[in-house]
């Protein structure tokens, strides 16, 4: 069993584990739990998407949620029942979309149409925006993609005839269910995995580790980064569509810096560049704030009553993030994947090889106590 395949099996096993988990909870028929599990899945897709566009390439994008917004609004507008998007309500909507009626289609098909349309539109926008932006590096690209997010937000707020502006766009059919969410999670994980093992993925990692050396090896930097950016945007938009059809109402404020930051923490905590890391990060960092929300609303411990503490979960997340940055900057997983299903022999072999390499490097540098991988 090759290591790549073994790791893919690990990923599938993880997803299967989660499916099992949610099967258990859906037996409880508690809408609240199911909803959280769906949100966890959607955040996993976003985290994997950000991991592809930023973790693999090292080009940090703060604009990811902008693509999510594009996916959410596109899918919502396509699938809204015609009664809710007539010219009296949304005057600037093109007639083709205004009269489009997908309500007679089965939910998964309608969601597929909406999601694909949103994903492709986001991918197109990403390609157009990315051609100039992917030339930048470091914090320049972070600031520029943040500019993109502000622009998307301004368009959503001001294009009132299409998006209802700052007011919520409601009445979106509820198509999303756990199975659809985790099907997309599985696809996203699979694509990220295959990408990482492909020549394109290796080119992404190579230019992240050493730009000049990668260029010297003939890696087309712009095209490599653009590919990652577009794929990330596509999956973010899919997540956006699922989100729209889960919450059934959208407003531009949802797609702004708070959400951006949440997804970034997930990827960082999980480990930039690790697909399993992104999945684990999304799982932990959706669940923990949800658990903390109980504390925020005030808690009755029987003997003592805690007052409501709004903002506490965000504070805890922020502190956790800074601590991760200071003490374990590579995140939980670093660059690695879960070795659960890698056969023993090959793990030992890989470890031995890695140790030999780091020994060789350590004896080369003047400070042997610090290996570059540590």
């Amino acid at each position: 069993m090759s290591q790549g395949r073994a790791q893919f099996v690990t990923g599938l096993a993880l997803v299967a584990l989660l499916v099992l988990l949610l099967f258990g909870t859906s037996l409880l028929e508690n809408d609240y739990y199911v909803r959280i599990i769906e949100l966890i899945g959607i955040n996993m897709i976003l985290a994997v998407g950000l991991n592809v566009s930023s973790g693999f390439t090292g080009v940090f994008s703060l604009g990811q949620i902008g693509f999510m917004a594009i996916g959410a609004y596109t899918s919502a507008l396509l699938t809204l029942p015609p009664g809710l998007k007539n010219p009296a309500l949304l005057p600037d909507l093109p007639p083709v979309i205004a009269t489009l009626d997908l309500s007679h289609l089965p939910a998964p098909v309608a969601l597929l149409i909406g999601g694909m349309a949103g994903g492709l539109l986001a991918a197109l926008v990403a390609a157009l925006v990315g051609i100039p932006l992917m030339r930048l590096s470091g914090h320049y690209v972070a600031v520029a993609t943040m500019g993109f997010l502000v622009i998307v937000n301004a368009v959503l707020v001001n294009l009132e005839g299409v998006t209802k502006g700052a007011r919520p766009l409601g009445g979106i059919p509820r198509y999303t269910n756990v199975w659809l969410v985790y099907a997309v999670v599985a696809i996203a994980v699979y694509v990220a995995w295959r990408l990482l093992r492909s020549p394109y993925g290796r080119a992404m990692l190579a230019q992240r580790e050493n730009l000049v050396a990668a260029q010297g090896m003939g890696v087309d930097i712009l095209r490599t980064r653009l590919l990652a950016f577009v794929i990330g945007a596509f999956f973010s938009a899919l997540a956006g569509a699922l989100w729209a059809h889960l919450l059934t109402a959208l407003s531009p404020t949802a797609f702004y810096f708070t959400y951006t930051f949440q997804i970034i923490i997930m990827v960082i905590v999980g480990g930039m560049g690790s697909v399993t890391g992104a999945v684990i990060g999304a799982f932990l960092l959706t669940l923990i704030p949800e658990l903390l929300r109980g504390v925020e609303g005030g808690l009755d411990l029987g003997f003592v009553q805690l007052p409501p503490l709004f903002g506490l979960s965000q504070i805890i997340l922020a502190v956790a993030f800074v601590l991760v940055m200071i003490f374990r900057r590579q995140g939980l997983m670093g660059d690695r994947e879960l070795p659960l299903f890698v056969p023993r022999g090959s793990v030992a072999l890989a470890r031995g090889r890695a140790a030999a390499v780091s020994d060789a490097v350590a004896s080369d540098v003047s400070n042997p106590t610090r290996s570059p991988t540590g």
């Binding site: 930048l136 590096s137 914090h139 993109f148 622009i151 301004a154 001001n158 965000q314 504070i315 940055m325």
Partner: protein
């Protein structure tokens, strides 16, 4: 003519607020290569400290001065607890950490005072309106903002050109390693940069709060983004550039607000950020920045 003069005053006022913010951003970026997102939160905690102290019975002026001092303390803590342990880390790590610091400060204020908007009223004399003749007027708070910015800019210039600490600061911004080699105490310089930056942000925050008459925990968010754009336009890390960029941005925004066709004024921020992207692509070093270039 009166209209143009009036808009000129508005642009100058807005530019002054941005300049007070942009100096701190540029100073900290120049030394640490850190884009300090949490700088906006310093603008926000300034008026909140003032609010709390006024509530505790202090007169507004004294409360504001104390608030500026307290905010400078927050700046020091921010550097000590979050940025110092990460010194030398990649740019993006620092940037993301500053986002976390920003969220921490925002939610700490929400936790203490709630998320609602609070009324914020300055002393009487800032409530007046002066007529300059020809139909042009200026409110005393706008005048105060412009004068305060001018005074602080002059003081800051004197500080960085006439004092040992100021000169060391410029040297450190120029080249951290070389500054260390000639015996400059880097930590002292960095702490000073945070004190100066935080103090100016607090002044901007209190004045801005008085001008719009209210404060809320997310009031620092848009100003810090704008101050960013200003520093990018002027040249990352260049302090004269940041001030110039701030006034350019102030005038540009007022221009867009008054000359854009009705119905499109909402796109003002979008236009400003599109401009930012264009500057990053065409002239990443800004108007006055050095020719250091990062990119493919």
């Amino acid at each position: 003519m009166a209209f143009i003069a009036q808009q000129f005053i508005n642009g100058l006022m807005l530019g002054s607020i941005y300049a007070l913010m942009a100096i701190g951003l540029a100073l900290i970026f120049g030394i640490l290569r850190l884009i300090n997102f949490a700088h906006g939160e310093l603008l926000m905690v300034g008026p909140f400290f003032t609010f709390a102290l006024v509530k505790a019975g202090l007169p507004f002026g004294l409360a504001a001065v104390l608030a500026v001092v307290l905010t400078a303390g927050v700046g020091i803590l921010m550097e000590r607890l979050a940025y110092r342990p990460l010194r030398g880390a990649p740019d993006v790590t620092l940037l993301l950490t500053s986002l976390a610091v920003s969220i921490f400060l925002q939610n700490s204020v929400i936790l203490t005072y709630g998320g609602e908007t609070k009324p914020f009223k300055g002393p009487e004399f800032l409530d007046q309106r002066l007529q300059l003749g020809g139909g042009v007027g200026v409110s005393t708070i706008d005048l105060f903002i412009m004068v305060a910015a001018l005074v602080l800019l002059v003081l800051f210039t004197l500080f960085v050109t006439r004092t040992m600490l100021g000169v060391s600061m410029r040297a450190t911004a120029e080249n951290l390693l070389a500054a260390q080699l000639v015996g400059i105490n880097i930590n002292r310089v960095i702490t000073t940069a945070f004190v100066v930056g935080a103090g100016m942000a607090a002044v901007a925050g209190v004045l801005w709060g008085v001008r719009i008459g209210r404060i809320d925990p997310i009031m620092g968010f848009i100003p810090v983004l704008k101050a960013f754009v200003a520093t990018v336009i002027g040249g990352f890390g260049s302090i004269p550039g940041a001030v110039l960029g701030a006034y350019v941005l102030g005038f540009l925004e007022i221009f867009l607000a008054s000359w854009l066709p009705a119905g499109t004024t909402g796109y003002r921020d979008a236009i400003v950020f599109a401009l930012l992207i264009v500057v990053l692509l065409v002239r990443p070093q800004g108007i006055l920045g050095s020719s250091e270039r990062e990119g493919v």
